[in-house]
């Protein structure tokens, strides 16, 4: 896949229900699954697919992204033959109009596109939880000499839709129309990953600069008749994180054995920043079931149906259920947590009870002390 430039950029904006977790970070670095950040999935997918030039377009909250990616060493991207670039993005500041894939993000980085010798560009959003290899779709894209290949998923119950999600009209493998879900529905929805010929993308950037239309999807729609646009089915687990409820749902999906098998495959490992912490210590009274536990934890209490991130301590006689505890939380003695989502570095003192509801968990910001 030497002929492909991979670009990770935010599709849509951020939903307000996640805002408590996004004060200090962008959606791409939201902690997920006991040790990961959301972007780890797409970045690892790119690397595992053999893409050697990767650009990550950040939002204005860069520090967590830069801190997390560093030189890209953990993804084998700090070699002389590989390249990871952290690029500047642009945010959507027009009232009332909605932009799906903002071309201004790419206009800002036009030189990056032009300097690359790749002929094709993969655009993907950082908030997808999926283990995916792009080799197959790229082979189809090349074989069919497509201008654009959009990856789609067949409608299924687990995916949580929004009105601005895109539905595709498919005839054989050809995409004949694209609708916003609020206007018209089809069983195929756009999975927010696509491959586009770089020459076509650069032309779109020119049009966009002249016309003031910033949405790549609008460009695609107005050129539907002259471009060859194909669809490609995504058949394994995929979940998009953009609201609190689907963050919680996707996290809890990890407690299903089949989902773990689908996401953490030997042939497609998900890489993340390595931490040198000790193995997790389960003390004598501890009782843990149906949970994902990161390394460096020390568990004395009871944990069930929960996601416990690295370096978290849960003291004696405490009970944690149906909750997500991000990195480096400290839970005191005799504490009860049920349906709680807490950001990192939170401290819960002894004898505290926090009980949320399944459909509205208690959300605790980073560094809170209770």
């Amino acid at each position: 896949m030497k002929n492909v430039l991979g670009i990770i950029l935010n599709v849509d904006g951020e939903d307000t229900t996640l805002k408590n977790f996004l004060e200090h970070r962008s959606l791409s670095t939201l902690p997920f699954g006991g040790r990961y950040r959301l972007i780890d999935f797409m970045l690892s997918n790119f690397v595992n697919s053999g893409i050697t030039q990767i650009g990550v377009i950040g939002s204005h909250k860069y520090s967590s992204l830069v801190d997390h990616l560093g030189t890209g060493k953990e993804w084998s991207l700090s070699r002389k033959t590989q390249d990871l670039s952290i690029l500047t993005g642009s945010s959507n500041s027009r009232i009332g109009s909605f932009i799906k894939i903002n071309l201004r993000n790419l206009i800002n980085n036009r030189i990056f596109l032009e300097n690359s010798n790749a002929d094709h560009v993969i655009l993907a959003t950082p908030n997808l939880v999926t283990s995916y290899n792009f080799r197959e779709v790229f082979a189809a894209h090349q074989k069919n000499d497509a201008d654009i290949t959009m990856i789609y998923k067949k409608d299924h119950g687990k995916y949580q839709f929004r009105d601005d999600d895109l539905c595709l009209n498919l005839e054989d493998d050809k995409i004949t129309n694209i609708y916003y879900r609020s206007t018209r529905r089809t069983p195929f929805f756009f999975a927010e990953m696509l491959i586009i010929k770089k020459s076509v993308l650069l032309q779109f950037l020119d049009f966009s600069d002249r016309s003031g239309d910033w949405d790549l999807i609008d460009m695609v729609l107005s050129n539907m008749d002259v471009l060859k646009i194909l669809g490609f089915n995504h058949s394994t687990y995929i979940k998009r994180i953009h609201t609190l409820s689907n963050y919680v749902n996707a996290s809890m999906d990890l407690l299903e054995y089949e989902v773990i098998q689908d996401l953490f495959r030997d042939d497609n490992p998900i890489y993340t920043k390595i931490k040198d912490n000790h193995p997790t210590y389960f003390n004598d009274p501890s009782k843990v079931s149906s949970s994902i536990i990161g390394s460096g934890c020390s568990i004395d209490g009871a944990v069930s149906r929960s996601i416990i991130f690295r370096d978290t301590e849960i003291d004696k006689n405490s009970k944690v259920q149906n909750s997500i505890l991000m990195q480096h939380c400290q839970i005191g003695k005799n504490t009860i947590l049920n349906y709680v989502v807490m950001d990192k570095d939170t401290i819960i003192s002894d004898n505290t009870s926090l009980i949320g509801k399944p459909d509205s968990p208690i959300v605790i910001k980073k560094g809170t002390v209770i």
Partner: protein, 373 residues
Amino acid sequence: MNNETVAMLLAGGQGSRLGSLTYNNAKPAVFFGGKYRIIDFPLSNCMNSDIDIVGILTQYRPYILNNYIGDGSAWALDQYRGGAHILPPYMGQKGGRWYSGTADAILQNIDFIDRFCPEYVLILSGDHIYKMDYSKIINFHKDKKSDLTIAVMEVAWEEAHRFGIVNTDANQKILAFQEKPAQPQSNQASMGIYVFTWSVLKKALLEDAEDETSGHDFGHNIIPNLHAEKKQIFAYPFSGYWRDVGTVESYYQANMDLLDPDCDFDLNDKNFHVFSNNISRHPQYIGPYAKVRNSLICDGCMIFGQVEGSIISHDIVIHPNTKIIDSIVHTGAIIEDGAVIENCIVGARARVKCHERYLNQNNPEDEIRVINS
């Protein structure tokens, strides 16, 4: 780069007393405490002691060890000028030969050490579990204007006959050595950690090389020779956790120490990190009917059975209806449905078949059994 001291880590031994754990793997690369390998401890000590140049002498089954050390970046030893260097035996104009003893291994690498023009050379071995700030023993060596400083620690009197014992005066100057004495005169045991002034060591190595009767060993040849020459030899007293893990029993016991809340060996000390070279793995998954108590478990594991008093390394699958009691399981092992193991060490990628049982009641000698693939 700090080139005052070059550390030389002796990692070439077979460790034959560890039995099948070192069948295809050098002793320093044997797993310890779940995610670690034995060599992590001296390498992390170097990192925590501001030592930037480490030569690692390898000989026996070096592939896993070399691969693990890599460029040394896991221990922050990937530097432009210093860093970790793997030093295998090599050919020269006059042919080549294996390292024939601990001192011979250093002798053959005099050129390596000379490249850095160090004042001191620190000799370490790759089979001890401990945390030590080597800068303290080096400062002690400087303060005493010593030629050789040996780290010692107090051992129980009844154990003293198993160690090299030193007698010192009030100033910690060593007066006499006794190697594994029947009647020990002190309980200060050598830990196999030496600081030499490089010029003194180099001369001693070259002289020893001429002596055809010598076994080219630090403990038996070099140190007694220096003592006979009336060199300044001091004992640096160390107190803290230190274990030799040369036998299956001592290896097992030192692992189990990690589960003892009263043990003062802390892997979680943020001021003295123990680093290791690990790849990304998914977090561990504890299944619905799993029971885990008093155990250490690492990333990549899928636990569906009962685990008690055990140390579970990476990527291990423990199926339902299993019992893992007081055991050590190494990376990639699979414990199949219904298997029971007590007091065992399960080797890397071994498979304990369903309904196999290794029970204490069938093991009157209380032997630690090693299960290998």
